[in-house]
Symmetry: C2
Subunit: 234 residues, 2 copies
DNA sequence: TGTATTTTATTTGTCGACAAACAAAACACA
DNA sequence: TGTGTTTTGTTTGTCGACAAATAAAATACA
């Protein structure tokens, strides 16, 4: 028999609260539902999630550890700002991680990995076909995350995930204003990446990964500079 | 007038407790004073630091975020084990970060950075001269951390710091049994790195950084395999 | 004696309350 | 009116206590 729960937030299991709050807040930050710089109030969150401040606080500490929020001592906590000054650092790191994870995937992937990667590839293609910008961002990140996973280097996958998260925020920022017609060239490039990985062609994977990264970086950069020009033109 | 405090732990300022506990535990973990796998008891720590479990808990959450401790839900928390299976991943990541941070330092360093780097270089040389293995480990990490800082890419410095931390544990593990005569070849290599950075010779910095990393990796690997052989011989 | 079950013990997860720190508002004074 | 001071308010940091979850110990039973 299934319990009938009229409550919106049913009784959680002990220990699940923190993860839930963490996941929800993380998504809201990355989707810009919580805008950068906006305050994060513990009491408010405690009321919203109907739990005490303690688990909320733990979730916030974890988010702060990943740099998603910033806590000024004794004073307000707020959603981290997007650091446009260090955008080049971001692109450098992202490009390198694209390359190295693709490379390692070509080297160390197992048969099962390819199925997973192809699954996300299909999801991405579907998102492109549907012109769903947000889904594109999400599935693209999942696709590359799966490739990184196949490379089996936890240090690289860790950094890469963080970068993809940050990219999610940056792209989301763009697609807020320009509803998206992302080129489906990326779909073909993704196919080429998969082929290189499946063929265990390390150098080719590296080469394509690099080219793909540069494509993306260039696209994002051009979007931003175009955006800047528009702003200046007003 | 200065307060006379018979207490060992004088009254802390509000908010400083967490950082203190975090710093101390972190050092103890990295120095293997807390051995991998050993349990971490919140109540015990609360008694030791004479504070409630709440700030202890926050420090532990942060340590867990960096992978230094592992918390099994509802059950014991323990110091993370050193993952010998993934040692190659570690070396791969370390080598790449050695290269890329040295490279970026050659590109983006400012005059002040060189002074800082040279300072740690001297510290390292002194540690080598004194045959102080632990000081070597620490100053070597500080030296490369400073180089990474001069490269001004927070994503790389973040990962690099984590890797250097993990390396601190691994090396410490070795030098626990074999009291150390580390080759002072590294001192010369450090000098060469500084020279390449100062000359802003990016390719040379990359080349030396790579060679240096491989030296270190090779040394550590040989130490471990030698250690394994010894263990097997018993 | 060996196995299943109950009991105990230990450790974590959550709560509500209070105190400290800081910022902004209110106030005093020239 | 402008500046320095006090007051108020809001948010965080810390505390002690209790409840849930799990492991270990004790017990019952064959």
């Amino acid at each position: 028999m299934t319990d009938i729960r009229p409550d919106a937030l049913p009784e959680r299991k002990r220990g699940s609260g923190v993860k839930m709050v963490y996941d929800i807040l993380r998504d809201e930050i990355l989707d810009l539902k919580l805008s950068p710089g906006s305050p994060v109030d513990e009491v408010q969150l405690a009321e919203r999630f109907k739990m005490s401040r303690t688990p909320i606080r733990e979730a916030l500490v974890r988010l702060a550890g990943e740099g998603l929020i910033e806590a000024l001592p004794n004073r307000s906590t707020m959603v981290s700002n997007i650091d446009f000054l260090n955008l080049n650092s971001f692109f450098d790191a992202l490009t390198l991680m694209y390359r190295v994870t693709t490379r390692l995937a070509a080297q160390y992937h197992r048969p099962d990995d390819l199925a997973i990667i192809r699954g996300y590839h299909d999801d991405y293609a579907a998102a492109v076909a549907a012109q769903d910008a947000l889904a594109m961002i999400a599935t693209n990140a999942a696709f590359h995350s799966a490739i990184a996973e196949a490379g089996r280097n936890p240090y690289f996958t860790g950094l890469f995930r963080r970068l993809l998260d940050e990219g999610r925020r940056i792209l989301r920022l763009y697609y807020q204003s320009y509803e998206g017609h992302m080129p489906d060239r990326f779909v073909e490039e993704h196919s080429a990446i998969i082929a290189a990985i499946a063929a265990r062609d390390v150098e080719e994977a590296d080469r394509i990964g690099k080219a793909h990264a540069q494509q993306i970086v260039q696209q994002v950069q051009s979007l931003f500079t175009r955006g800047d020009r528009l702003d200046l033109a007003l």
